[in-house]
Symmetry: C2
Subunit: 209 residues, 2 copies
DNA sequence: TTTTGTTTTAACCATATGGTTGAATCAAAA
DNA sequence: TTTTGATTCAACCATATGGTTAAAACAAAA
């Protein structure tokens, strides 16, 4: 037998990565198995040799896309830090994660929109539970008069929006601002530097450098 | 002949609306002509009687989805108002538009992502031109020290993000915050009331009620 | 009544696509 | 050398789907 064991046979990985790229770019129905095979540099038979069906392959890509992003995030919200530091920390780390996986949000949200039941809701409910303490912290600080006067949920939605949407809206922004790819990368780089401060400043009331 | 002229024959409209709903929910490839026919309460033959092909029908839905949203928005940016009022005005009106068309953003962005050439870029370039004066206004106020110290483009992206993303991320937010549909509508209603103030307060420096 | 455009019905075609199969090849491990 | 799993190749199947067609029914306008 050829190389095997240790890391999953590199072809299996090649197939998965090809599938991930194509599925994320074109969605479930928009994807052709042949295209995945081509991109992986193998033939269609081998696809089914490793992953029995399109559904199975998609499911794996979908689940792993979610798992790759979500747990990292919620853990950031549970660290024991004062609010402003936590906001800064969360913003920076989250931006790094999403910069490393810029196609995942649109992918997940489109598939979720098409088929709301596919995503196991308990997965998100877990997230919900982990988010509660953070919301509580926001409410506490709000009561002390340290934050802007806004429901905690609205604040969180504002933060998530500013973090994620630029990547989803990228093609629109690039045309409107007349940016080529390099310019947009630069724009994101700049954003990584400036956004933490902006978020802290807009959520917390006064005196925070 | 049956009723005709005046408004386009009501079946033609029925078909278009059915197509719009299905295309926006499932995307181009995810949509079956049969499903459109069913939803419109007619049969497949009649689809092709009015719209020759799936492509043609989709194109019409796609273009009109864009046209319905984009021009309204840019006009809001060119009104002759002081910055804080313009921000308030823009936020309120934009939210109304998007509340009336909550499915359009994800639809456009997914299709745009799949096929960047389908959208005539000159359309967005027009938007770009119309946005320039607003960016310039932002820069002027920034120079006067009236706004937060952030590039105009970053500010605009922040605003657009907070306006649009809640609708794209709706299914996620609903689970995380444990909201049923009614609760989420309420959340958006509340947002419409609070967001203009938050945006002004976070973009403009101090003393603005 | 005739005409004309609308709508249904039902059968049908061509194609793309997911998936299968079986034989052949190949390379490494035993 | 034998064995075994990986991989290719080519042909093939079943199905879904977009699209067509022709005939008939229908309803309003002329």
């Amino acid at each position: 037998m050829k190389e095997n064991k240790e890391e999953q046979s590199s072809t299996e990985l090649k197939i998965f990565e090809a599938a991930r790229d194509v599925f994320q770019a074109k969605g479930l129905e928009g994807t052709r198995m042949q295209e995945i095979a081509d991109r992986a540099g193998i033939n269609k038979s081998l696809l089914h040799y490793y992953y029995r069906s399109k559904e199975k392959l998609f499911e794996k890509v979908y689940q792993l896309s979610i798992i790759r992003v979500i747990p990292q995030i919620v853990s950031l919200l549970n660290e024991d830090l004062p609010l402003d530091q936590k906001l800064r920390n969360f913003t920076e780390k989250y931006l790094e994660i999403i910069i490393a996986n810029p196609d995942i949000p649109l992918f997940i949200l489109h598939e979720l929109n098409k088929n709301p039941t596919r995503l196991k809701t308990f997965m998100l409910q877990e997230v919900g539970k982990k988010v509660q303490p953070f919301l509580e912290q926001l409410r506490q600080e709000s009561k002390k008069g340290n934050t802007v006067d806004l429901p905690a949920e609205q604040i969180l939605v504002n933060i998530m929006s500013m973090l994620i949407f630029p990547f989803i809206g990228r093609p629109v922004f690039q045309v409107i601002f007349d940016m080529d790819d390099a310019a947009f990368e630069q724009f994101i780089f700049e954003r990584k530097r400036l956004l933490p401060g902006f978020i802290v400043q807009s959520v917390m009331k006064s005196n925070h450098s």
